[in-house]
């Protein structure tokens, strides 16, 4: 049942470029797709370990910069008269490095998350993203600072025996994004349905208890953070090679907020949530653009967001599946009616 609907959804998405000829809409789908990948990675942390990263764009941006710099080359002075010179590599190497470096950053932030939780984790991640943004802004020699990195090449896939294949058209990029998104989706799905995913859930619901039954908090959170950051880095790399210019604005808070909106409106902790939320909020501006004044578009955007949460407070996917399940007469797990959230959280 579930497998069938997944296959249908994938087939539908894969067929889009075959009938959708409007490059503008395709473009919107590609950028939306890139952000959906980012949102899926955020969902891994927020939805499955309960840690809200409001600096998730940092990993995305790091991926974008790493990938861009790898494929553009750089020449920077280091303290003590050293120079670090890098000649351009193919973009695909940039993509791989973006994943690796973002994952490493995720590792360090993960180590931090071992010490802080909840609101404190939120602030650490915001701070991390801000610091990274300020470095990108001020380390002009490496990143060109606000002058932006331009002329970033498109991704080219090496085809053994055939040379390489540059992904230049929208359709190419669309499929690239779709494939990366699918891989990320499957990876996350496997992870959360594994034994390891249960450990993450346990941690999210009752950390003290989780520790006492032998769940390794640090390891679990760190692995989740590394995978999440690596996926975000992949998204960032796609972004850099598609938009072909990046400046420190990629770290803008509103970009994190966009991902958060996609995740929570779609339903955190549900695999399809970020995809559904992402499609809605990625394409909503496209829908609103022709019908109202710019300021009104934002107001409507906020209004739609609020309306969705009023109607489906647990997010679109979980709320709808619950309702559908009830209609079909299936008994879903009886959810506890929160008498008091506060008391539930007290460990004592």
């Amino acid at each position: 049942m579930r497998a069938i609907s997944t296959i249908v959804a994938v087939a539908a998405l894969a067929s889009v470029p075959l009938w959708l000829r409007d490059p503008y809409l395709l473009n919107a789908l590609i950028t939306t797709g890139i952000f959906i990948i980012g949102a899926m990675s955020l969902n891994l942390l927020l939805g499955f370990t309960g840690q809200l990263s409001l600096g998730h764009i940092a990993f995305f941006g790091i991926g974008a910069y790493v990938s861009a710099l790898t494929s553009l080359g750089f020449d920077v002075g280091l303290p003590g008269d050293f120079r670090l010179v890098h000649t351009p590599w193919p973009p695909i190497a940039g993509f791989v490095l973006a994943v690796v470096v973002a994952g490493l950053c995720g590792y360090f932030v993960g180590l931090l998350s071992f010490r802080v939780r909840g609101a404190y984790f939120v602030i650490v991640t915001i701070s991390f993203a801000e610091v990274v943004r300020l470095v990108a802004l001020n380390w002009v020699e490496l990143t060109q600072g606000p002058l932006a990195l331009t002329s970033i090449p498109s991704i080219a896939l090496p085809l053994p025996g055939f040379g390489e294949f540059t992904l230049r058209t929208k359709m190419h990029n669309y499929y690239l994004v779709l494939v990366v998104a699918l891989i990320a989706y499957l990876l996350i799905a496997r992870l959360v349905h594994s034994h390891f995913g249960r450990a993450m859930r346990g941690l999210m619901e009752n950390e003290t208890l989780a520790i006492s039954v032998g769940i390794d908090v640090t390891r679990t959170l760190t692995i989740a953070a590394v995978i999440s950051a690596a996926i975000a880095g992949a998204a960032g790399s796609l972004y850099a090679h598609y938009i072909r210019i990046i400046d420190p604005e990629v770290f803008a808070f509103i970009n994190t907020v966009t991902m958060v909106i996609m995740v929570i409106s779609g339903g955190k902790g549900s695999l399809a949530g970020p995809v559904v939320g992402g499609l809605i909020f990625g394409l909503l501006p496209v829908v609103l653009r022709p019908v109202m004044a710019p300021e009104a578009q934002w107001i409507a955007y906020g209004g739609v967001l609020i309306a969705i949460l009023f109607l489906l407070p647990r997010g679109i996917v979980p709320s709808l599946t619950q309702r559908l399940g009830r209609r079909l007469g299936r008994t879903s797990a009886r959810a506890p009616v929160a008498l008091t959230e506060t008391a539930a959280k007290e460990p004592a």
């Binding site: 473009n27 802004l137 001020n138 002058l147 400046d247 934002w298």
Partner: protein, 360 residues
């Protein structure tokens, strides 16, 4: 049947105020042209889209204007990173764009032959300033610039020019876009041994800087650059603190008679006022006005509203802009040059709450 011109400007987000001014200027130009019967016998129609001050959106907007609205030519996109994000799309769809505001040198040097810029990059501004520095007897200058391509670019190009002139360059301080408290930077500058500060940022931060400098008792000569100063707004908001400050500007709405094209300036300023806009906005909006008139001239010259023809025509036009003739010269790598026109630059001074032309 109309001829469509795409306008890609920030109408929401951080640059909303400026983008809106430019769009309003563009509308005046369009109405004026249409009142005179349009071009090639058709009315022109501005297709205005908000790029939300966001590079991704700016690229998407360009995509939409070109592919959905089928505009043969664009104007945009205010900020340099917005314009830079649009540029690959211009290459992709081979559609020209007039750049009315962005100042980053990269825009015309990376080999994008679809770019035609009427605003001065900081290097041109610096070159224009070069002629005046002797008369100001500068010895050592500090910089206080906004931390973006515009501010950084200005600091770089002006420093280079100063050094050529034998003027020492002291501190280069930056401030973030949206920062409200610059006293730390100003205190540092106060303690340095330079006598002049070059300040580059938008009007809001200028206002704050003048006030905060006055509060700190900073008594150095302040020269602002970049042409986004809106001196009237500064006078209104900074009051006495603005007295004595000098500004490099690209438009003189206060002294139409001193502009290269007094008649047009008069018309534009009176139309601007008639529409109930804030006079202070003139110094930004005139670029939108000039930009659309430039586009219209190119279409007229091309004889048809097609991208390739319009692109070719840009090289052959000479428009009487509000700030001198708009004529595109080649800039950037050979064979793929972008167009860059050479606007005039003026120095004005605020005295007793009034704007004076600095005659040197």
């Amino acid at each position: 049947q109309t001829i469509k011109i795409g306008v890609n400007e920030p109408l929401t987000g951080a640059f909303a105020a400026s983008g809106t001014y430019v769009v309003n200027g563009a509308k005046i130009a369009a109405d004026e042209i249409n009142a005179k019967g349009g071009i090639l016998g058709k009315k022109i129609e501005l297709v205005i889209e908000d790029n939300k001050s966001n590079p991704t959106e700016a690229a998407a907007v360009a995509e939409k204007l070109i592919t959905s609205d089928k505009v043969p030519v664009l104007m945009g996109a205010w900020g340099s990173s917005l314009t830079l994000a649009v540029m690959p799309k211009l290459m992709e769809y081979e559609t020209p764009m007039v750049v009315e505001t962005s100042s980053s040198g990269k825009i015309t040097t990376t080999g994008n032959p679809f770019i035609f810029r009427i605003s001065p990059p900081s290097a041109i501004e610096a070159a224009a300033f070069k002629g005046i520095v002797d008369k100001l007897a500068l010895k050592k200058v500090d910089f206080l610039v906004i931390n973006n391509d515009w501010g950084r670019g200005t600091a770089e190009d002006f420093s280079k020019m100063m050094k050529e002139k034998g003027i020492a360059v002291g501190l280069v301080e930056t401030m973030d876009q949206g920062a409200q408290d610059m006293s730390a930077q100003l205190s540092k500058i106060k303690g340095s041994d330079s006598e002049t500060v070059i300040v580059t940022t938008a009007v809001d931060q200028l206002t704050l800087i003048f006030k905060q400098a006055a509060a700190l008792g900073l008594k150095k000569r302040i020269i602002t650059t970049g042409g986004s100063q809106n001196p009237d707004q500064i006078i209104a908001q900074a009051g006495a603190a603005a007295n004595g400050t000098m500004h490099l500007t690209t438009f003189l709405p206060w002294f139409p008679e001193k502009t290269p094209n007094p008649e047009a300036t008069n018309y534009f300023v009176s139309e601007w006022k008639k529409r109930g806009f804030d006079f202070a906005g003139c110094t930004e909006s005139f670029r939108g006005y000039d930009g659309i008139r430039t586009v219209a001239a190119a279409i007229e010259k091309a004889g048809k509203a097609e991208p390739a023809a319009i692109k070719a025509a840009f090289w052959d036009i000479k428009v009487k802009g509000l700030n001198g003739d708009i004529v595109f010269r080649k800039s950037g790598p050979e064979g793929k040059e972008s167009g860059q026109s050479q606007p005039n630059v003026y120095l004005i001074e605020i005295n007793d709450g009034k704007i004076e032309m600095k005659t040197l």
